[in-house]
């Protein structure tokens, strides 16, 4: 089976629940039409001849991730074109060629950390500390940060967003999470206007951290983000996250866990080497004993449902769920589970996890038919969510169960930290989505 890299709405080498690039990329074709002083005739072929007859090969056009985001041609794109734009070798080059001018920052997501820890047979904390030490002492990376730090803000904002909508006559509920760029890409490209009002406008932790790190205009920073997901490359390339003043994106390079591991192997990282360092302040979380905390309570996809559900129970219905674990009912399959808050026999809140493309479909269809009974849905394109992201290490000795267990055993916070980003240094925590119109040129490449 061909290994497709982007999740789109994901793919794993061993699972079929994935949308691959759906057709040939149409951007080069459009370029061809524009550049070519052709006679403008459409070339006809016989109705069922699948093979196109002697069509002139379009000129190869350079396609950026941004072009892909703006195109409705396919859901995710020809990864071969895209990967070379955000490749770990690109990061390597930047570090080696430019050792003094730029501050090199690398931030690690907790899901990537869990995958690496399983690979190196370490616990999460030790793995984080050894990798950090190696990056800083051997690779000349200036700062290593924790993506989960920025998740504190994402969690609090999405809770605020939910409470606001709920109290505003349940307007635009269900609130659909926006952390997953595969899902966002799918929603914008194929679902159009009706779905967008439901999607949380809170930026993902990657992009919040990106804004925080580059908040100081006097520093020249190159920011690498290690993620369990190839689609995060697409997210980082959104025009919304381009800083006009700096002429730079907030995140310069996203590399998948698998790519990061390849890089570490090339640089001869030794997991046995006992040199250890914590993630750098200020973008790391610590407990009272100065021990690192690496994640939040709840799902391996960020714990959005968990935190918003508990907060809503408390703030809206004065029910303290803090010591209870949430009970889930499996609906259609393991990746579609729901939990309810019942007050005096009445269901007041209905929240769901919908992971994987098939379950995204079911949520989207329910919404379209006005039959969606949920108030909040944690949506992820990958089956089993981000711990099983398309960019995680694929190897027989790194199983999903182990990665999930490692993630669950990371030191975690029950409540996100209220970061109180002060006015002066405030960064935007919200973003926007837009429906991408179906390109009419699709019609020309029909194959029956």
């Amino acid at each position: 089976m061909i290994t497709k890299n982007f999740s789109g709405a994901l793919q794993l080498t061993d699972l079929d629940d994935f949308i691959g690039p759906s057709q040939q990329c149409i951007i080069p074709m459009q370029t061809n039409i524009a550049d070519n002083s052709d006679d403008g005739l459409i070339k006809l072929r016989t109705k069922k001849s699948d093979k196109t007859e002697a069509e002139s090969t379009p000129k190869v056009a350079k396609i950026t991730l941004n072009d892909c985001l703006a195109c409705s041609g396919c859901i995710t794109s020809a990864e071969s074109i895209l990967i070379d734009q955000q490749d770990y070798r690109e990061a390597q080059r930047t570090i080696k060629l430019d050792p003094n001018k730029k501050q090199i920052v690398l931030s690690i997501s907790p899901q990537s950390l869990s995958s690496l820890a399983v690979r190196y047979k370490l616990d999460g904390l030790t793995c984080a500390r050894r990798v950090t030490s190696f990056l800083k002492t051997k690779l000349g990376i200036d700062h290593v940060y924790d993506v989960a730090y920025a998740r504190n803000s994402a969690l609090i904002e999405i809770k605020n967003e939910f409470l606001q909508r709920f109290q505003n006559n349940r307007q635009n509920l269900p609130l659909l999470t926006s952390e997953c760029p595969g899902w966002i890409c799918y929603a914008e490209k194929t679902q159009g206007e009706y779905i967008i009002p439901y999607i949380s406008r809170v930026k993902s932790p990657q992009q919040i951290l990106g804004s925080l790190v580059k908040n100081n205009p006097n520093e020249n920073i190159y920011h690498i983000s290690v993620q369990p997901c190839y689609d995060k490359k697409l997210e980082a390339s959104r025009q919304d996250f381009y800083n006009e003043q700096r002429q730079q994106y907030d995140i310069d390079c996203v590399i998948s866990t698998g790519e990061f591991e390849k890089w570490l192997v090339e640089e001869q990282f030794d997991p046995e080497c006992s040199s250890e360092l914590d993630y750098d302040k200020p973008y790391t979380m610590k407990d009272e004993n100065d021990q690192m905390i690496l994640t939040h309570r709840g799902s391996g996809s960020g714990g959005y449902l968990d935190y918003v559900f508990r907060s809503a129970a408390k703030d809206l219905f004065h029910i303290d769920m803090d010591d209870k674990s949430l009970e889930f009912k499996v609906t259609r399959n393991q990746d579609f589970r729901e939990t309810v808050l019942t007050v005096d026999g009445q269901v007041q809140l209905r929240f769901a996890y919908a992971y994987g493309f098939r379950n995204i479909q079911n949520i989207v269809q329910k919404l379209k038919r006005n039959k969606c009974e949920y108030d909040f849905v944690e949506i992820m394109a990958c089956p089993s969510g981000c711990v099983n992201g398309g960019g995680q290490i694929r190897s027989t000795d790194v199983t999903l169960d182990d990665v999930r267990r490692t993630y669950e055993s990371l030191p975690h916070l029950d409540h996100p930290l209220d970061l109180r980003i002060d006015e002066e240094n405030s960064i935007p925590l919200y973003t926007n989505y837009r429906a991408i119109e179906k390109s009419s040129s699709n019609g020309f490449s029909l194959k029956w």
């Binding site: 089976m1 061909i2 793919q11 699972l15 079929d16 629940d17 994935f18 949308i19 691959g20 759906s22 057709q23 109705k47 069922k48 699948d50 859901i75 194929t190 259609r332 399959n333 393991q334 493309f357 098939r358 379950n359 479909q361 079911n362 989207v364 269809q365 379209k368 039959k371 089956p383 699709n442 029909l446 194959k447 029956w448």
Partner: protein
């Protein structure tokens, strides 16, 4: 020739191409669809409505099929395919408008029950599983979708999106073995494995099975040199016939695990399908459809060379000799243009329907002569 293909009746069904014809399970209604975005249902004219003279003329030639009803409001572009549920009370249609419509019988009429959206673009085929629990769809977006019926909601929900094919998926066929509705008891024991076959522009046929609460590709049948347009199981489900743009028809045999022949299955669990016979040299153009009659064992093909051909399996002299098929009847001018689909009546042995780019539907009777 050992049989004769007799034209019974011709309908000028449309100004446009007719893509598909399908008999209902009792063989009393024939559904058709095509580029005119219309679904038509054809049935025998009621005897009560006829005068005696007409009756006698009709009975001599069996030319008593008429259009009984027309469904016009389902799709905004060509309807590529229609399929019946095995209970006969549902009809599904696949449209180039990326939609799948499911129609429910309401007296003599069919009314829209639900529209399934999810395919990115042209939907090419649709098929109900034996129990009606599952509906499979496929299309140009290279994917095969499996929808599960939910009785409470009287609607279908997406159970799987399978992207194993690397190109346009043309045709779907469920294994004839009866599937069992899920109950708590059967949920984990799963007594009968569901199998779905799909044919593609990537030149392969793939078999999908239900596995835990997901679906996976259990085998890929690779031998055709070009687009596989269609396939059909024999009545036992142990063999499959396929047809292709490469102008051949192939017969495949399923070797279960621990088979006598000692053929190993790569997965160790699922049967392995091997091509045991290739029928070539008869068709001069792409073969768009093939059907294996469950009543007579005959194989019929529909081709881009305007012909319908009927093949019969020859009796084997030795038990383990490979199967062979001979052409027993054909009409090389069956239609004026490409023959797109054929369908054996499931109750009346030898009754066959065909449809074509020429806008007509024809009914045929195959008369076999004793050899």
């Amino acid at each position: 020739m050992l049989a004769e293909l007799i034209e019974l009746q011709e309908f000028e069904a449309s100004e446009d191409r007719i893509w598909c014809v399908a008999w209902n399970p009792t063989g009393t209604l024939l559904a058709s669809c095509g580029s005119d975005k219309v679904i038509k249902l054809w049935g025998r004219e009621d005897v009560n409505d006829l005068n005696l003279a007409k009756i006698s003329s009709l009975y001599s030639g069996e030319r008593n099929w008429v259009c009984k009803s027309t469904i016009t409001d389902g799709h905004t572009r060509s309807i590529r395919s229609v399929a019946w549920s095995f209970c006969g009370n549902r009809l599904a249609s696949a449209g180039f408008d990326a939609k799948v419509s499911v129609w429910e019988r309401d007296g003599q009429d069919f009314v829209l029950q639900t529209t399934l959206e999810g395919h990115e673009n042209e939907v090419k085929d649709v098929a109900f599983s034996r129990s009606g629990l599952y509906l499979a769809t496929c299309g140009r977006d290279k994917s095969v979708w499996i929808w599960e019926y939910n009785e409470e909601e009287n609607d279908f929900a997406c159970a799987a999106v399978l992207t194993t094919h690397t190109q346009d998926v043309k045709h779907l066929k469920w294994h004839p073995q009866k599937d069992v509705r899920h109950s708590i008891l059967f949920r984990f024991s799963s007594p009968v494995m569901q199998v779905l076959a799909s044919c593609s522009y990537d030149d392969t046929i793939k078999m999908f099975v239900e596995d835990n609460d997901d679906w996976t590709c259990a085998s890929s049948l690779e031998s055709h040199k070009s687009t596989v347009w269609s396939c059909d199981f024999d009545v036992t489900g142990k063999r499959l016939v396929s047809c292709s743009d490469d102008k051949t028809v192939k017969i495949w045999h399923a070797y279960e695990k621990n088979n006598r022949e000692g053929i190993r299955s790569p997965s160790g669990v699922y049967p392995v399908w091997k091509c045991v016979c290739t029928i070539s040299g008869y068709h001069t153009q792409a073969i768009y459809d093939v059907k294996w009659c469950s009543l007579t064992g005959l194989i019929a093909t529909a081709s881009g060379d305007n012909a319908i051909r009927i093949f019969r399996e020859e009796e084997r002299q030795q038990m383990d000799a490979p199967p062979s098929f001979s052409l027993v009847a054909s009409n090389t001018h069956a239609h004026l243009q490409d023959v797109n689909r054929i369908s054996f009546n499931p109750k009346e042995a030898g009754l066959l329907a065909s449809c074509s780019d020429d806008g007509t539907i024809k009914l045929w009777r195959i008369e076999q002569r004793p050899s």
